[in-house]
Symmetry: C2
Subunit: 247 residues, 2 copies
DNA sequence: GTCAGTTCTTGATCAAGATCAAATTGCAGG
DNA sequence: CCTGCAATTTGATCTTGATCAAGAACTGAC
């Protein structure tokens, strides 16, 4: 997707300004009353920039902070016993990472940058303090986790229900929608992940994913040039994906 | 599974005694320091008994309480546009229900009893009060949600990776393990759900599920008589399921 | 630009599981 | 016990997507 949402960031050092962040409405402080947002902001640190392929979190390491991607995209995956990657999904700006770590205090899967990536972090000890004081943040954290859970269940259900092309269509439709919510052009983007990553995410082979793209192209629903995608008929994709009426 | 874990419950009316509950170690108060457990207990109400097929929660209704199944089992599912059921999973005693409701304040899926079922409930307004006061409960709620998330992601990953018999094997292995943790015989149980429910949960057809049972029976790994299951070779099932070394 | 390496596309074959269709078993009610 | 209905098993066939195998296109380095 090649995502750059680096807003102009001047004057802030350790404490980051959420106020001016383009992602604010999607991110944690977006739903909080102003005083709570300010309190949270003072606990937010800026993570260092990561290059493509670098690990944002490693499975099994202590969950020492809540992380939110600020710009770029990432791949969430686990390593199976056979050494293959089980791709859980892809992370876009404004999305939290490693929430399943709350289960054990250690991250449950790997998250690797797919392109240059920056992120914010709230150290756990500060988060716990804030949770004591801020009722809105408590509600917001539960909402965030509930949302992640709902999403994971939805993805599981879709995988069980849908055939190959339906899965690819839904993948694209979902990506479109998430890009749109972040203010990116929803029908014209560059995929940051490989066909193999998409395939492993959707429980398919990369050949089948490629063929699905080929079909959509032939039908005139898509323009595909390697990783550059133009969605010409979002309605057709949505229909195949079985989505009710999400644009 | 035909689950009866009705411990002897005398004297308690609205407030339920978690102290003597057989499920305590699996349930919310199990991880809490004693004073917090007592505070939580005072907020717990007993839900009325439900008969087979009755709804414990309906998708879209307001999430007015946190629910935990006390005895019996239930099916979590969504209704698709075509009117079919998308089965997300099955709920056993000690497991919370409807956590994805935190996302929107409304339950995200249907939960129906599969056999006579009883449950406990913590009204949301009381839960919010308690979360303000009890740091252990705050941590525990995050843990609970993190666990549910991890579980959902695991299920999604398995679905993407495993073939039909592997999925059925894993389903049985998982059930075994969960029954064991609740003190039920893990290798001898009665399924409370139909083949069709299992199939819809695993993204298969009921015929394929039936054939998988047939294969396992022929291999001598299982004894199957309708819904009565005896696991004779848990190791073989676990191996097929790709589980490392979980007994 | 050219080159090497990777990623992606396309084609041919094959197998796992879906689908269609009975037959069988189990179970509640009379 | 018998009856009727629903759930399950079993069988035959067909379709989808996996697998194997080339090619083609893209990428980054020189």
């Amino acid at each position: 997707m090649t995502i750059r949402s680096e807003e102009i960031e001047t004057g802030a050092h350790a404490g980051v300004s959420c106020r001016n962040c383009a992602l604010k409405p999607l991110c944690l402080p977006g739903q909080l009353p102003a005083p709570e947002a300010r309190a949270l902001e003072s606990a937010v640190e800026r993570g260092r920039q990561l290059g493509p392929g670098m690990a944002l979190v490693r499975a099994g390491t202590a969950m020492d902070a809540l992380l939110v991607v600020r710009s770029g995209s990432a791949k969430r995956f686990s390593l199976t016993l056979e050494g293959t990657e089980q791709v859980h999904g892809f992370v876009l700006p404004g999305e939290a990472v490693g929430l399943e770590g709350f289960a054990t205090g250690r991250y449950g899967c790997e998250v690797n940058a797919l392109e240059p990536l920056s992120y914010c972090r709230v150290p756990m000890h500060k988060l716990e303090q804030l949770l004591e004081q801020l009722p809105g943040l408590r509600r917001e954290m539960l909402r965030l986790l509930g949302q992640a859970l709902e999403e994971a269940q939805r993805l599981r259900g879709e995988l069980a229900e849908t055939d190959a092309r339906g899965r690819v269509a839904r993948f694209l439709a979902d990506l479109s929608e998430r890009l749109a919510r972040r203010g990116f052009p929803p029908y014209d983007f560059r995929l940051s992940m490989s066909r193999a990553d998409i395939a492993r995410h959707l429980g398919l082979t990369l050949e089948t994913v490629s063929r699905a793209f080929g079909t959509f192209k032939r039908e005139g629903w898509l323009r595909v040039r390697a990783r550059d995608i133009s969605v010409l008929r979002p309605d057709a994709l949505a229909a195949l994906a079985g989505v009710p009426h999400c644009a």
